[in-house]
């Protein structure tokens, strides 16, 4: 058996670092290279301020001010035929810029084009809901609130969607620990048994791969079972699989392995 090494905090130290690796950037092209997007961008620029616009992987990315989001998406839907909001969520840039980036991925079925609207908001800033325009934004915005804590105004049902209602913290933020903070670690114990049960139940075992071959209190080896708590440091006897008690079971016919039929053709 392989020697056991503790795996408690494997994720703390990355096992591979390359200081000279530079993240590849997707090439950005000028919007004027595409006939359809040029007109869309001109229409947006006529009414609203556009901070930046470019084409990446045949999709136009338009970076706008956060307070214009509803008006721009409404215009794109009603006048520019972008009739589907396929995806929207937030990206956590709090560590580097102190801001969330919100993106709306839109699709025009008639033009066969995809367009992405991006805007940035501060951590405490709220955003206008686009649920009135696209029903798909209903759950997406709830998920955005659930996972990042971005509050959306004028949403019909601003409530957590995945995590429990009484959850603390926003799990998809970069600052949230993968294995949960203290609230998450004791959530089910606190809720079901109360805080006083913490000492009795004990902390979570975050190393579920841990197996102690000689621990007969909690482990047993199939085919080598011994009574609980037996010391097996000097080996253990072979015990064949027992399906019934050796003396037989009351009112139940004894299973005889010799008499059983093994089916050779499994597709019969």
């Amino acid at each position: 058996m392989r020697a056991y090494t503790p795996k408690d905090n494997v994720q703390k130290k990355p096992y591979y670092t390359d200081r000279y690796w530079v993240a590849p950037q997707v090439a950005k092209h000028d919007v004027s290279s595409d006939d359809v997007f040029v007109h869309d961008l001109d229409a947006i620029k006529a009414k609203f301020e556009v901070l930046d616009a470019y084409i990446q992987v045949d999709q136009m990315v338009v970076i706008i001010n956060a307070h214009d989001n509803f008006a721009i998406i409404e215009m794109l839907k009603n006048e520019r035929e972008y009739n589907q909001l396929s995806e929207m969520s937030a990206i956590d840039w709090l560590a580097t810029e102190g801001k969330f980036e919100i993106f709306y991925q839109m699709l025009s079925m008639s033009k066969r084009k995809r367009l992405r609207i991006k805007c940035k908001i501060d951590e405490k800033e709220s955003l206008q809901s686009v649920e009135k325009l696209f029903r798909s934004a209903d759950w997406s915005e709830r998920e955005m609130y659930d996972m990042f804590g971005v509050v959306v105004n004028n949403h019909p049902f601003m409530k957590r969607i995945l995590m429990p209602d009484d959850w603390e913290g926003f799990p998809l933020r970069k600052t949230y620990p993968l294995q949960g903070d203290e609230f998450a670690a004791w959530y089910e114990v606190d809720k079901i048994f109360g805080k006083e049960a913490r000492e009795i139940i004990g902390p979570e075992n975050r190393d579920p791969a841990r197996i102690d071959r000689y621990d007969t209190e909690r482990f047993s080896r199939l085919g080598h079972e011994v009574p609980r708590g037996t010391d097996i440091t000097n080996g253990e006897p072979d015990t064949p699989l027992v399906y019934q008690e050796p003396e037989g079971v009351f009112l139940i016919e004894k299973f005889d392995a010799e008499q059983s039929v093994v089916i050779s053709d499994r597709h019969r």
Partner: protein
């Protein structure tokens, strides 16, 4: 009156079987383990396969029930999330005594590969477990063997004495 000696305690005597109350009750309990359908994730598929025709749990008297009030066995098949923990505890409390729990698969045993904030690291943090089945997911044969082990455990228990409710803490 017959001339020959009749041994009433042997087969072919009177239609009488001598036994103890314990054995009869435990025979009944161990061979009519009605299980609560508790498929939480992919292990639930294996649990359904165990109940279907090829593996046929009905042979053991294990019939899946959709109500905790009609069930005495809970096969926790799959990942238990923290959001769901209170509901599994509530359903466990609604089952009538005596009751048993099989924790099926790595996720239910220890949290398995979901070493994250949202997964309960083993259902035994919430409800008392009688039998842990390893595997990801365990084959239906494993679940069958597990149920047979549980039947053996039930037969060993005393039935006449009121069973003490199991406590987690």
């Amino acid at each position: 009156m017959a001339q020959h000696q009749v041994n009433y305690l042997k087969d072919g005597g009177l239609p009488v079987a001598l036994t103890t109350i314990d054995k009869v009750v435990n025979w009944g309990r161990s061979n009519s383990l009605w299980a609560l359908t508790y498929g939480l994730a992919c292990c639930g598929i294996e649990m359904m396969a165990s109940g279907a025709s090829r593996y046929d749990f009905d042979r053991f008297g294990t019939i899946f029930r959709a109500s905790p009030r009609q069930a005495e066995l809970m096969v926790v098949a799959g990942t238990l999330t923290k959001k769901h923990a209170e509901f599994i505890r509530r359903l466990y409390d609604q089952m009538t005594e005596p009751k048993w729990v099989i924790s099926m698969g790595s996720c239910a045993n220890t949290g398995g590969m979901f070493n994250t904030y949202a997964t309960v690291q083993g259902v035994d943090r919430v409800i008392p477990v009688d039998l842990y089945l390893p595997g990801c997911a365990p084959r239906p044969e494993t679940l069958q063997y597990g149920v047979m082990m549980l039947q053996q455990k039930i037969r060993r228990e005393s039935a006449s004495r009121a069973q003490k409710p199991k406590r987690l803490m």
